[in-house]
Amino acid sequence: MISHSLLHQRTLHGAGMWSAVVSRGKRLRLTDIDGGANVGMLLYNALERTERYNMPDTLKGQHIFYLRAPYCLHSDMGRLLASITHDDAGWHDTVCGHSDAARVLAKSGENNYQNARNDWNRNGRDCFLIELGKWGLGKKDLVPNLNLFSKVVSDEKGHLSFVSGNSKPGDSIELRFEIDTLVVLNTCQHPLDPDPVHRHRRVKLEVSAGDPPASDDPSLTVRPENLRAWENNQTYHTLRF
């Protein structure tokens, strides 16, 4: 599938964390090596970090409750941060947020660094805050995140159920960035994953070169809202660069 040259790759082990600025047009492919992974992800405009991934605008702008290809990830400024250009799992949650230390302790029990060394139980909130801190960001910037590879469904009354086995070994998702983006992610377990064992699943991460999309790209044409957001990106880029 990858027709673009690979620029960087690594595999995240344990509760892996990663943050990087990835410029416009580049692709980030994440592969769930073992199956059942969860990647918590937040995105920020790399140059104006008060502009950030916005769960409500992403959902209401595209009339969806979850993410899949070819939908887009919207910022709070009416622009696109990224488009989903490839997707095997077909359902990615963005409404359930991330775990914190108290929640992990209540579900999985005590498993601290002193006893378990790097097999200790970590949590999404701490992992996000650690990486955000390295870019001058912090608690104010922690907003509802993406939970890539995880599926949570709602019944008619709004009650939520975590669907185990949504992502199979080898499933991948590819994002194309539509603006220079600060990516912050970790592989902590989904907060509603009922598995009492705090499992660490490996995720392969690849960044490759690429070009910005044409105006007939499926991610832009799937909704007229996405095309208008893309036009807002074009205005931003025209004025700035």
Binding site: R79, K139, S154, R228
Partner: protein, 229 residues
């Protein structure tokens, strides 16, 4: 549908927020906040912050996670970014409220409707002004996804989401007990591009009650921090 046992006459504070205005006020632990939909189908976009530390604020995702359910109603704990209950909903004559839809903004209106809607008044502008007036340190970064009281955003089992006609009506209300000292910031939504306000933004009324002991005989004066836009 759970009705409140509190009589409006017992309120220690009452104020009507006109359509399109913002309002910011502290609610003390042990007080109850009622939001009254005066004319029906009016979205009250609402944020809460810990009064002691506004970096701890309402979290839509943590609230959804805590109850493993999307809609807010009686019994829902409104959770903070740090995993604490800010308030608990104690009465609700509307039935359910949204926290997925966020606030409208001039920027997102261009994406959702048309580029020429950019000039139209929107909740995010109201939130920015309210936050700026309350605390010099507060700005757009402090604005996470909010609660939309009285708004109906149904999600289907196959994952579709829509903005539907409201299920609220004149005189319906939601009431919540503060579990810590909180600051409440409301944008009384001016949106004209979808049915969240029944295509006609209208006022809401705020009532604050003192719980657990006799209410003061004289009503509180208006907060000095309230400056209408």
């Amino acid at each position: 549908m759970i009705e409140s046992t509190l009589s409006p006459e017992a309120a220690v504070f009452r104020e009507v927020i006109p359509a399109g205005d913002w309002w910011i006020h502290e609610i003390k632990k042990g007080q109850a906040l009622r939001i009254l939909d005066l004319e029906g189908n009016q979205a009250a976009d609402t944020l809460f912050f810990s009064a002691a530390d506004p970096t701890e604020r309402y979290s839509a995702d943590r609230t959804i996670q805590e109850q493993a359910a999307l809609y807010l109603t009686t019994g829902t704990k409104l959770m903070s970014t740090q995993g604490n209950a800010l308030l608990t909903i104690t009465a609700d004559t509307c039935g359910r409220h949204d926290t997925l839809g966020g606030a409208c903004s001039r920027e997102s209106n261009t994406m959702r409707y048309a580029h020429d809607t950019e000039c139209m008044h929107a909740c995010r502008d109201s939130f920015i002004r309210g936050a700026q007036e309350w605390n010099i340190e507060m700005n757009k970064r402090d604005l996470g996804p909010n609660i939309n009281f009285f708004m109906n955003v149904p999600v289907t089992p196959d994952g579709q989401l829509s903005f539907a006609d409201g299920i609220s009506a004149p005189g319906r209300y939601v009431e919540m007990r503060a579990e810590m000292d909180v600051v409440c910031l409301i944008s009384n939504c001016p949106q004209l591009n979808n049915p969240c306000n029944g295509w006609n933004p209208t006022p809401v009324e705020i009532l604050i009650f003192q719980l657990n002991h006799v209410a003061p005989s004289s009503k509180e004066t208006r907060s000095p921090n309230h400056i209408c836009p």
